[in-house]
Symmetry: C2
Subunit: 773 residues, 2 copies
Amino acid sequence: MRIFPNIISCVSIICGFFVPFTTSAQGQSARLVDYVDPMIGTAKMGHTFPGATVPFGAVQLSPDTDTIPYAVNGRYNADVYKYCAGYQYDDPTIVGFSHTHFSGTGHADLGDFLLMPTSGELQLNPGTADAPDMGYRSRYSHDNEYAAANYYKVKLDAHDITAELTSSSRVGFHRYTFSKPAESHIILDLMHGIYNYDGKTVWSVARVLNDSTVVGYRQTNGWARTRVVYFAMRFSKPFKNYGSRNFEKDQVYKGFWRKFDQTDNFADLAGSKLRMHFDFDVEAGEQLHVKFALSPVSMDNALVNMEEEVPHWDFDKIKYAGQERWEKELRRIEVKMPTREDYINFYTAMYHAALMPTTYMDVNGDYRGIDHQIHRAEGFTNYTSFSLWDTFRAFHPYLNLVNPSRNADMVQSMMAHYEQNVLGILPIWSHYANENWCMSGYHSVSVIADAIIKGAYTGDANKALDACVATANFRRYEGIGEYIDLGYVPDEKNGTSVSNTLEYAYDDWCIAQLAKYLGQEDIYATFSARAENWRNVFDSSIGFMRPKDTTGKFREKFDALETHGQGFIEGNTWNYSLYVPHNPQGLMELLGGKKRLSAYLDSLFTMYLPDKFFEHTEDITREGIIGNYVHGNEPAHHVVYLYQLTGERWKTHEWVRKILQDQYHNGYDGLGGNDDCGQMSAWYLFSSLGFYPVAPASDEYWLGAPIVESASIHLENGKVFRVEAINQGSKHIYVQEVLLNGEPLKGFTIKHNDIINGGHLQFKMGARPNKNL
Amino acid sequence: MRIFPNIISCVSIICGFFVPFTTSAQGQSARLVDYVDPMIGTAKMGHTFPGATVPFGAVQLSPDTDTIPYAVNGRYNADVYKYCAGYQYDDPTIVGFSHTHFSGTGHADLGDFLLMPTSGELQLNPGTADAPDMGYRSRYSHDNEYAAANYYKVKLDAHDITAELTSSSRVGFHRYTFSKPAESHIILDLMHGIYNYDGKTVWSVARVLNDSTVVGYRQTNGWARTRVVYFAMRFSKPFKNYGSRNFEKDQVYKGFWRKFDQTDNFADLAGSKLRMHFDFDVEAGEQLHVKFALSPVSMDNALVNMEEEVPHWDFDKIKYAGQERWEKELRRIEVKMPTREDYINFYTAMYHAALMPTTYMDVNGDYRGIDHQIHRAEGFTNYTSFSLWDTFRAFHPYLNLVNPSRNADMVQSMMAHYEQNVLGILPIWSHYANENWCMSGYHSVSVIADAIIKGAYTGDANKALDACVATANFRRYEGIGEYIDLGYVPDEKNGTSVSNTLEYAYDDWCIAQLAKYLGQEDIYATFSARAENWRNVFDSSIGFMRPKDTTGKFREKFDALETHGQGFIEGNTWNYSLYVPHNPQGLMELLGGKKRLSAYLDSLFTMYLPDKFFEHTEDITREGIIGNYVHGNEPAHHVVYLYQLTGERWKTHEWVRKILQDQYHNGYDGLGGNDDCGQMSAWYLFSSLGFYPVAPASDEYWLGAPIVESASIHLENGKVFRVEAINQGSKHIYVQEVLLNGEPLKGFTIKHNDIINGGHLQFKMGARPNKNL
């Protein structure tokens, strides 16, 4: 959702030259997975994590570089925002390796079960970045750090230990290599977490089953209100000793548990502030392995997950198996691009678009529902962490194209949420069997309608429509009740009344499309009418969407440039007034026609936005904006394609190329903003291929201008859709002509079936606009 | 464990007259259950609860009269002790009706899910006893209160509501009758608890499934460290409205849950400080019913429990069914006694000896293990709440006699605990899938050995022996390691070194008996040796057990009358020095022979104990002691029978009669001390029948002097054991002769088989001692 610029890249573009990652390398690597660079986006606002995971894996085993608390003495600490993924590239220390991470979010949670290998004196506090020696954390150097798909390696300077991480879906696999003989303490911190605060860990349990196996769980109250994660941990050799400390200061009632010492080798632990240590004597060069399995259900299931997925101690085998899964995932699109940097951008985007939602069930299919009860997924994989405000736009449509069966399971997971949810609605932004109510809209309906209309989801479509209707009628949430009654969310009832009205209108259109598809005429009529509610917040006197009160009066004091407090979430009215993806023609007419829309867009991309409009808005920074167009905040993601309506298609070509180049780069600072669970990457993938789903739940894609030279999309039905950009080049950014299956294509859209049936889309590129296109 | 006198009764005895409950009533009631008076022991130190429950039921639905916290600002509040069972007879107000209660404990927990029917203005605070009108609690009068087995009724003055309670095993059933038309708010307080403190409720969840059904759970951290109880609640008519309030003051992170109002009619609640209300319009005379089911496992299981056990709304049917279960339970012993008061004492003792341990599994057999995982009980009923330091003495032996299959299931529950316990030991004092480490000893082994040797438990005896041995070798707990190494617990290592040594020695003897029974000679030899460790703390220079340090030196400064800080728990050395139940002959010899023991016992029962020795001891009060003999603290429970060894059997007869009359009475203040989960009642039952299990795990009972006129024990094997006290009377307290099956009985013991095979035990009573008996 948020955006932050790649300053260096911007400078280099401004200066007119550009140095690719490897200037000489234009040939493809043998393995596509070798193009994946998990370090991309790990600096500043990218909020990606560099650690090890498999596609949509339940475990994301990754270093955390700080433990800054979400709140101190009850007051919010804004710096915590940096640590949404646990890792910040500029940080000098690593606290340890935890097993769950979001990718690219603008708010956070997780960071479960931090493990840290140490040598020397036992330390049970993490220490601070300024004084790492006061704790178990360690300084490290990026020179001694390496990240690849499903593999991460770093040397921990303080302990002279090289840590390597890999994973299967549900098991994190650690390999620690000791440089010198030492007593090593492996720390298991059950208090550690992302967006942590004193009291976030509601409860934790650890049980030491034998001299090398520990199980337990942890319950947190954070972004997810009631989140429980179970674990099973096994060391490759027996510890000689272990212990724990309970850091609860004001524990009123320890009862009879104080009767005897339980800090040393006591197998039955529970509390809200536990840290453990496991002690080993190690030789120089010795390698210690740790398997760490997760489960949403139980300790026993975590053990089974471990035994099923990693029944051996061969680290390299697990690493390789995970990379093979990545390779298979990436092979779904084979591209030819001008530079090695392009390949890295493209396949890292595919990588980032295959991290979330994450698998949320055990190998036996058990999972925890939103109803706090245990269910078994019959015939589908249950997923969690749906950042729907972001991902409905391009990410889920991307899956419908390249990975439809996976998206079908995601829809089924959302339907399970609906069926188990006592509120009787679909997820808004859900993770780990919790609704976190983040952002706005009921965009599940977009994902579901898109998946059904495009044939990806073949479950009970009528039940899905019921779910969509119920969600759209959940009056309590964010002004939906007033929206239904008045046709818009009134200003005085809701702080983001206009963006909500616009998003609801689009969502309603999705429901209408699904109803139409299913022949449900009444629902189609109702929601088609609701879909036009966007008109109710358009103030024709100023030509912008504008907050309106219950009496129908537009807000007097209103600033079209200001993002903060103007009735929108993560955007000003300049960006949001274009948010009618389902009826851009109608919008254009209301705005005043083609010329007016064209001028609007020109202004948006080129205007100078005074600094003061960013002052109150933490989500947008100066350099990440192109004029007044904010790419990092999703609402305008479709906007660049609207030039097609005005007949000035070359302007889409120009600005798409500029966005692709400005906002996506190689290197740790390669992402212009939060990757937002793959949405930003999915925008890149679509746009680089030359088309984009302007309105998911339609079966159309709008054409842009590709930056690939060619691409083959290997569809799940066995067919191949090929994209070719003839005469592609850094200056050949304008599409001269488009051919579909050899025939000139009229209009600026292609149908989903055009792709899914296999075919050949050719863009003839040139250095100058073809104004007759 | 604790004792408090029935002052009025003591006074009346001192004054030489006694007024029975109903002076004229000597005939038996048609139903034995009508003799049960659950109010007995509800005043002062009895710690019984007056509410509704079935034999060993999972639900104990009972009024709580105050909400005094366990700790205020981190400091212990001694007054909380009064509320171990939630109810104190002298209290003027009732806070509400909660669903779980211990019976007669000296420490506490539970009090889950308080329901309170109110009328008038909504109040979500309980108020205080001084100012009940400030909250939802109500004044009440004992004139409007009635308690019977599985039935409790009270009029709530503040609300003009008559509340009636009954239950099935897992379901509490409420009937509220409204006197006048009103808006009624039924309060569900998820923060309420016994031995409560701010923060004890770690988490709670409530989900409103429809207009009359609510499910949820509550996790607490109290005496039980990690305790979770699930519920399902259903009203007999739909509520018109409901709501909740979260009383968390310093909730750092409410995240996006603050986005919209959730206090009113919001179905998905969670937090650590929740109270709910359900609103109804009621007519005069209208009755509202509530079914409230519990589960240790899940909300779904709670619903199933409700539907299986109470599939209708017939309050009286459930009440009657539960009373029928009580009647069946009580019919196991049919007695003839002199007065109606005696019947009430006897059958209320049987009632109190059938409350705990409680059923701890769902109707489908699911239960939560000590390993925090879900298990299914195959072929047995799983029980919880084992107050073993108390109950190994007479309560479990009582079950082996009258209810052996139930005791077998209790042993199997203890074995499941052992198998699921990561510490690999049997329970010490366990409740709700937690070990609370209360008191001392490893008295599970006594219960298990007794149950196997007496043929009650027919499970894997060798595995049971393994469990006993493992528990006896759990070195960490209470000086067991030092005890094994030195033969005693050294004074400087443990505050209750002498009582621990004595109790371990007895427990070791139990293990030896079981090993002998199973032909495990090595274990028999090892534990037979350990069983004689009691000798190691006997100081022959003073003739008492005495703390000894690691070097073998007895503590110099030692007071034989003082209870506090002298190396004993809940007793002074005068009481504890006789605690060698398994080798009283050896003890007598060590003490110096029959005369010395006789003099010791005479002194114990008649000496004057200066007030100062009670000053530091909260557990014993002046009037509850007979001389220096403390009946309310269990360690001396067998002592009155030791006169048999000295040949002065008439002294047993005298003192048994005195204890039975002093410590057990009709009326709310009828119990001299904590009933201790049925142990005090079991002592009464055995002693009133004329015999007592001095050393459980032997197959012998020592004879005393009955107060019944006759009794028929209906054994599970279909046989009947009859006791007859010929010439019984208030002055005929001395046994003149004993006949077993018509033959004069030699010695002062009978065998378990003498009973279990059926038979006839006759005591010929007289007014003067038969010194030749």
